[in-house]
């Protein structure tokens, strides 16, 4: 088995998901199957093959350094779950 429950637990913290013990159990099995399937890739010899991160061959796409209007603050904050008149609010950020 390629994936352990501890792996899955660690990944859940990295990906900021809280999984119940039952979810963790199920996820370990399901992800394990998928990861095993992905190991199919290992059988291919890719020596000397350039990785392909984009499906297009574009380069040097830039914009001019021109200031454009920002969003009115009310609009910027409108979708925030918690905010005051000026800022987004989150549980205290302390030495993190």
């Amino acid at each position: 088995m390629s994936l352990t429950r501890a792996d899955v637990e660690k990944v859940s913290l990295l990906g900021r998901l809280l999984l119940t013990p039952a979810e963790l159990e199920r996820m370990t099995v399901q992800l394990g199957q998928v990861v095993d399937y992905m190991n199919l890739l290992a059988e291919l010899d890719t020596e000397g093959v350039q990785p392909m991160a984009h499906a297009i061959e574009l380069a040097n796409v830039f914009r001019d350094d021109v200031v454009r209007p920002s969003l009115p603050r009310e609009q910027a904050l409108a979708n925030a779950p918690q905010h005051d008149r000026e800022c987004y609010l989150v549980p205290a950020v302390l030495g993190e």
């Binding site: 830039f62 350094d65 454009r68 904050l77 987004y88 609010l89 205290a92």
Partner: protein, 490 residues
């Protein structure tokens, strides 16, 4: 006795580039706006938005890297650095990982006062990335929440990483000073540390000298240093702290995880910061929303050609062309490109580099500091000041009066030196007149004459005041010379 260890220091500098708009959107980068008034869907990272690279930011980065003698990569790409923090709205920072646009440069540091040895500090890389926002927490007010301001989010940053080539806090400070000067000359950043335009982190450890050779101690990263002075003090503190830890534990590099410590400027100590193991797994991968950039050798040469004269070359030129000391050239160059231009015009106009340097440092800089002016606002042009220096050289006016009377008048009235001289009736006193006056004074003061004859030449100084009363235009130095010359024959 030699020190029991060598301090090894590398620096990481984040510089905000002087663009008008952010790295990936058109929001202004202006400092000090009310919270969350300089954001848009792109820099807030709203669902569906895409970044588009600011050309100017790339150009400013390129200019800096070339000036730092870096290799410029012909092909560069952007990557995502993934981590969660409330001031990072996308959950990732667009940065550069394995193919930064520049690497392998250097910056020379030295100190004309001789506090440090000249040294070439290597630059590992310089890359472009976006800034995060700010989280504010008022513990004193007992707030349960932190407040997030995203105005700064997406401001273009250049991250410059030095090699661990510095060997003392003073060298680190010298490196930062020289780097800041270079950035200022290049016009790529305002380098304002108070506003966060220039931020410094340091990596430091010790190489402890033991009979079995040098032993490296664990590397510590120091953050939260808000001035170059703070960097110097934090590094000094940290070296001493690590030495204590070494003596207590004997821990070597690799035996404990890398630690991050924050500098407390009030308490003058570094403190360990909370650090979870997983938080350093940034899962970098190529940013799919941005395409790569390419730079040709010809483009690099073009950038190099347009750099202008940089501080190190300028110091050398001022010393060789104008015969000024390394100390003087350092002072002048450190004042910036505009002041150097003023100096060159002054030295050329007056035909005397040394005098120009003295006038600039003693009179012009004092006045600029007192009035909090920049050189372009200085009321006396280089040409007019050069005229005054020339008059002093010619002997039409003595140096002290030139400074205290004429220069002061030029500053307030904006008039030329010649005009001030004319208005104040200042004119050269010819030699025969001076000699007649000298004879008269010596004759009237037999005690002084006798003293001079006996070799107490400084006794002649007492005549200056009387001479000035008789004729304020006399040159005191010349009068003294004449007194000493004629006294033996009287």
């Amino acid at each position: 006795m030699t020190a029991p260890y060598t301090t090894i220091i590398g620096l990481e500098i984040h510089v905000q580039l002087a663009t008008a708009s952010k790295l990936f959107c058109g929001c202004s980068t202006r400092f000090g706006a009310p919270p969350n008034t300089q954001t848009c869907q792109v820099c807030i990272g709203m669902p569906g938005v895409l970044p588009v690279m600011n050309r100017r930011a790339f150009e400013l980065g390129l200019r800096t890297a070339v000036a730092l003698n870096c290799q410029i990569a012909p092909f560069t790409k952007w990557d995502r650095k993934n981590y969660y923090y409330p001031d990072l709205p996308k959950g990732y920072q667009i940065s550069q990982y394995d193919l930064p646009f520049s690497s392998e440069g250097w910056l020379d540091i030295s100190d004309p006062k001789g506090k440090i040895e000249p040294r070439r500090v290597g630059i590992i890389r310089a890359h472009l990335e976006e800034d995060a926002g700010k989280s504010m927490h008022d513990e004193a007010a007992g707030q349960a929440d932190s407040r997030i301001d995203l105005n700064r989010t997406g401001t273009p940053l250049l991250e410059i990483v030095s090699k661990p080539d510095m060997r003392s806090p003073a060298e680190a400070k010298a490196f930062l000073t020289e780097l800041k000067l270079l950035l200022t000359y290049l016009g790529v950043s305002d380098c304002n540390m108070q506003e966060g335009s220039l931020r410094v982190d340091a990596n430091v450890n010790l190489h402890v000298h033991t009979p079995d050779g040098n032993v490296p101690t664990p590397i510590v990263e120091i953050k939260n240093m808000n001035s170059f002075r703070a960097v110097e003090r934090a590094l000094a503190y940290e070296a001493e702290r690590q030495w204590q830890v070494w003596q207590e534990t004997g821990q070597r590099l690799g035996q404990v995880p890398k630690q991050t410590r924050g500098w407390d400027d009030q308490a003058n100590v570094t403190r360990g910061q909370r650090h979870k193991e997983e938080s350093s797994d940034y899962r970098y991968f190529p940013e799919p929303d941005l395409v790569p950039a390419t730079v040709t050798a010809a483009e690099v040469e073009q950038v190099r050609a347009e750099l202008g004269e940089l501080p190190a070359a300028l110091r050398t030129r001022l010393e060789s062309t104008y015969g000024i000391t390394p100390y003087d050239s350092d002072v002048l160059v450190n004042q910036g490109r505009e002041l150097v231009a003023y100096f060159i015009a002054l030295a050329d106009g007056a035909g005397d580099g040394k005098a120009a340097a003295n006038w600039l440092q003693q009179d012009v800089l004092r006045e600029l500091n007192a009035r909090d002016l920049s050189i372009d606002k200085f009321p006396v042009s280089a040409a007019r000041l050069a005229e005054l220096i020339a008059l002093v050289k010619k002997g039409d006016i003595d140096h002290t009066r030139a400074r205290e009377v004429v220069f002061v008048e030029m500053l307030s009235s904006g008039k030329s030196a010649a005009d001030v001289l004319r208005e104040k009736g200042i004119e050269r006193v010819d030699e025969s007149e001076l000699e007649a006056l000298a004879r008269e004074l010596l004759a009237a003061n037999p005690k002084i004459l006798a003293d001079i004859k006996q070799g107490t030449t400084k006794a002649a100084g007492a005549l200056i005041g009387q001479a000035k009363k008789r004729n304020p235009n006399i040159s005191p130095n010349r009068l003294l010379e004449i007194c000493l010359a004629i006294a033996p024959g009287m």
